[in-house]
Symmetry: C2
Subunit: 83 residues, 2 copies
């Protein structure tokens, strides 16, 4: 088994209204030192052992998980995970 950790974040320059809302809430709650919040996604995938995991994950990100127009993705593959 392999564990893949994927981070999907908005590209720089892309507006993040969800992050802005959270920042506003944090400021209202008294955390005035919060100057910016950007919200992304974090996915953990468990994959059966396969020859070309990296290639597959790259494809999955492009096709389904991320929107390459406005999002960046990064992933790490951990080998030999036991569930």
């Amino acid at each position: 088994m392999k564990k893949v950790k994927i981070h999907i974040t908005l590209k720089e320059g892309v507006l993040d209204p969800q992050g802005k809302a959270v920042q506003g809430s944090l400021n209202t709650l008294g955390y005035q030192s919060v100057e910016e919040v950007r919200i992304g996604k974090y996915l953990e995938l468990i994959l059966a052992d396969d020859a070309n995991v990296e290639e597959q994950v790259e494809e999955m990100c492009k096709k389904l998980l991320a929107n390459p127009v406005i999002e960046n993705y990064q992933y790490t593959v951990e080998e030999g995970v036991t569930q």
Copy 2:
């Protein structure tokens, strides 16, 4: 400035219907080796320099960012970030 990276994940045993849906879609797209998908959140916060950042972030997670009943959170603080 400090950059705080927060990972919010569902606790083990908590159902993740969003993850299940993504897993189903990946399987349908031909990625049969995907056995499990869990989806969490990834936040990046920029904070002004302040004495007790760690304490503040801990509080923010408990009060607003995560739901401690069903979610775990982890964070790292990077010092001296220039925007």
